[in-house]
Symmetry: C2
Subunit: 308 residues, 2 copies
């Protein structure tokens, strides 16, 4: 599982940062990518990666501001010509997305060759997506903006071969059968498979925020707790806390303080303003410590198991 940044900037693109698009790469797990936000030039960015648009089957839009959605029509159009024919797509997002996409394709006389289903997300939503559980939480922004928490399914523990040998079952194809069963029989005895497995491996959790002010609701922090990766905006990096609040954004120290109350693996700061130069960003990174990273375009973060 990897998190890939296709656009790390805020508001308008600069020469170094595009506006916000991410990909949660779950190719190793389910041979797919989850796309999160779709800024203008997303399809151009994808050309610089190995991502195949047809492997994107679920799109999650955090909110409808232009810097998060203006690349969606182009991405949908290109996907049709890049192996996406007949491969359904589901788009999760706030109300309004369906109307916009429908008007856009009607006006441009375009027809896609695959079906799209729109899911209007709600606060406290929970969606089963290819075995993953995706939870949505409303944030605090000028428009409805959501956090998506992607929770990987639990993985069965490993079979304890020593214990199996103890009761007289030697290694062989039978081990695979046993692992799939709830109970199994051997020499007239019935055994519970669970007794021969190490504890299940917890699935990873990745929480990706849309634009937002700091949130300190307990239900929100509880969902974030234990995340392997938290992706949070930090539009303000230089102590402009009041401005951040005024414009419904977050200031970096506030983010770090808020999240210090929970346990998590890594923190990726995104939605970086074009006002900050490389030198300034470096000095911020130095004081943040190892766990927090300021995103740049094309940054790729591997999410190991038990990273927290």
């Amino acid at each position: 599982m990897k998190f890939k940044v296709l656009g790390s900037g805020a508001g308008i693109p600069s020469r170094t940062r595009n506006t916000q698009s991410f990909v949660l790469d779950v190719v190793e797990e389910i041979n797919q990518y989850f796309l999160i936000d779709a800024s203008e030039a997303l399809q151009h960015r994808i050309l610089n990666t190995t991502i195949r648009p047809s492997k994107i089957k679920h799109v999650f839009i955090t909110h409808l501001h232009g810097d998060h959605i203006f690349g969606l029509p182009g991405f949908l159009s290109s996907r049709a010509h890049q192996g996406g024919e007949g491969i359904p797509l589901v788009i999760y997002g706030p109300p309004g997305l369906k109307e916009w996409i429908e008007v856009t394709f009607r006006i441009s006389s375009s027809h896609l060759n695959y079906p799209i289903r729109f899911v209007e997300v709600v606060h406290d939503g929970e969606y089963e997506v290819e075995g993953f559980t995706v939870k949505s939480r409303l944030l605090d922004h000028a428009v409805d903006s959501f956090m998506y928490a992607f929770i990987e399914p639990e993985k069965l523990g490993a079979l304890d071969s020593a214990k199996l040998k103890d009761i007289g079952i030697m290694p062989g194809p039978i081990y695979k059968e046993i692992k799939k069963s709830q109970t199994f029989q051997h020499e007239g005895e019935t055994y519970a498979t669970a007794d021969f497995l190490s504890p299940p491996v917890e699935g990873r959790k990745v929480a990706v925020h849309g634009d937002t002010r700091i949130i300190d609701r307990p239900d929100y922090l509880e969902l974030l707790d234990g995340a392997d990766l938290i992706v949070h905006e930090a539009t303000y990096l230089e102590g402009e806390k009041e401005k951040a609040h005024q414009y419904f954004h977050s200031e970096i120290d506030d983010v770090l303080n808020n999240l210090s109350r929970i346990s998590y693996g890594r923190l990726l700061l995104v939605h970086i303003s074009n006002r900050y130069d490389a030198e300034m960003l470096e000095s911020v990174e130095e004081k943040m410590g190892d766990r927090a990273v300021i995103a740049h375009d094309y940054l790729e973060i591997t999410i190991p198991r038990d990273s927290r």
Copy 2:
């Protein structure tokens, strides 16, 4: 006057060609740019040029297919933050554009800080734009697609100083006054200024096509005749005339043959398919001769006076 290619490709972007956007640079003449088509990532392209979005006050959309308009919302948004505040914009294009832009900005809760006026262009339209005459002609495509002919105003001829000296008027600020007048008086005599001017210099003409099949209507060819620069699509470069016709596009030899019936300066072929590689394009350019050029992204063509 210069013609700048920001996107020379057809349909979907590739790593080497973006979809169609052009700029007619009339900075020297009127300190503005005319934008023609607005493909996705237009605002990203502009970042790589010296073009100031606030100097774009007139946008001409040839037709509403996605590869010609999906960059418009992003361009309009960025213009608001890049010096465009309070500077009106006029968008010329087929019906539907206004509805799409309005829905797009409503859905994304965005408000521009400058007024936009939409002009629904018609076949045989004629628009006065900052002293230029812009004529629109309907082409032959799957949807309404237009050619725009940009016609520069005629320039007053040069003052004949020898002739002025003959009647006793020596060089000085008075020359400027005379040039601006219709008639002038000297030692009791009235003179017609026109008698002291060389013939007016004809304005340049640049004709930019939207996607189209070959057109041989006399009114169309008449308007093209004498153009300093013709920008025409050539989606098909390899003799696939039937396919070109079937998909409402043009094949290169057909374009050259059709235009051989009129007089023009240069021909720029655009909307180039991603199927063609550099070698193939080179071999086509070799057989075309000097006047015709296959566009590439960021190509800039200077349009001299009397180039035809």
